[in-house]
Symmetry: C2
Subunit: 226 residues, 2 copies
DNA sequence: TAAAGAAAAATTGCATACAATTTTGATGTT
DNA sequence: AACATCAAAATTGTATGCAATTTTTCTTTA
């Protein structure tokens, strides 16, 4: 995992240090990473093309934010893409991959019982990434990971919010059901469960937003409504 | 349609002036477009992130090339994405959009009868783009257009090759069948036909490659096998 | 003639400079 | 206190310079 400048800047968003709507100021980033503005600009342009950040001529780039409709559309698209990955993985994964999937589920059970949210987030990434690999289609994997990257600030927020998504049991159970279908070679069922899983994530996220919106104090995730 | 530097460089690939494996040399492009290397580099980075070109450290960027397996995977992924767009468009398009779809099909019939290949390529773009819009999902549209962009050098080649894809009737008939299903609101059928359509395109492309490969003279599309 | 190696040329990566534009902050007005 | 206006500061867009690396060309050798 070469930590390129691009990845380092993306990590600021992934780790939540930069939130939707936050500005990416070139000189600050240049100072922070000990380089000049030139390589920073190039990294920012790449992240703009990836859709993680938004580039506005003559103005600072900002972490991309989604309004309610866009978020809903993004989750619909992601649901279908992940469902496709799951259904292909169900019939294409080899024994070694199936074994690893079982191991991931065991780890996930442990982590969700201990309510270890950072670990759960990490395992969520691994679970979906493993299905992307299992689908044996590099273009699909690229598409799936790009789509996930774009909504990273929102999905990560979802995982970290205590109170919302109150326990980690629900997502874990959903993952377990998907894994069972995949291991049984039942692609149709894996796809159906995956769609439900992603739809549920959107609902949790929307509830969180409605609550923070109605309160008068500043939302924890800025810029979600443009 | 603002022709940004990024779009201008992409057009070199889309129009076929640059083929898979061709180098994108910064200074040449800078001279060509009358700017310095800096904005050229930024455009190249963006196109690299989009997946149209490949960036290699310390070496010139090259137009991305796919080997047989990658091409097959790309078409599988694209088939599913386009199928999803079609099935959503079937139930979401409004009357104005359905009217325009009919108009597109009429134009397509005319063009395919006259065997006007450049116009057919243009209409192919419009047909698929119209379905992307009709699906009413901006993330899905982004994903679909990115996926199409990546294989642009190959799909355009397919359309232009006389002898392969011998007449334009087959793709036109396939489009017409898809349009009928969409207009009838039959999403399932539209998706099925779209998958077939894309699968057929891959087969034509593979036939073309097998023939050019077996011949000893240089292939018309360079770099397709890495 | 072909292959290998070295020198020369070309090319990329990054820093820096400066003009154009945007953002910030101060000041004054209602 | 809220708002408008304007100057100062900060920020972006692009050009240019130079070191590091790659690519090409030329020479030598087998």
């Amino acid at each position: 995992m070469p930590h390129t400048l691009r990845q380092k800047i993306a990590d600021l968003v992934i780790k939540g240090e930069l939130k939707p709507g936050d500005r990416l100021e070139e000189l600050s980033l240049a100072d922070r990473f000990g380089v000049s503005r030139t390589p920073i600009r190039e990294a920012i342009r790449q992240l703009g093309a990836s859709g993680l950040i938004e580039i506005r001529p003559r103005r600072s780039a900002v972490v991309r934010s989604f309004d309610r409709a866009e978020l809903s559309e993004a989750f619909e698209a992601m649901g279908e893409i992940e469902a496709l990955c799951a259904s292909l993985a169900a019939v294409r994964m080899n024994e070694a991959e199936r074994l690893k999937l079982r191991a991931l589920m065991a780890a996930s059970q442990d982590v969700s019982q201990r309510n270890d949210r950072p670990a759960a987030l990490e395992l969520d990434f691994e679970f979906h990434g493993h299905l992307h690999d299992g689908a044996r289609n590099r273009m699909l994997k690229t598409v799936a990971e790009e789509t996930r990257l774009r909504i990273t600030p929102y999905s990560a927020a979802l995982f970290m919010m205590e109170g919302y998504n109150a326990d980690l049991e629900l997502p874990h159970q959903q993952h377990a059901a998907i894994a069972d279908a995949v291991l049984a070679g039942n692609g149709k069922e894996a796809a159906r469960l995956m769609r439900e899983h992603i739809a549920q994530a959107l609902i949790s996220l929307q509830q969180f937003f409605e609550d923070t919106q109605s309160r008068s104090d500043a939302p924890k995730v800025k810029g979600e409504v443009r």
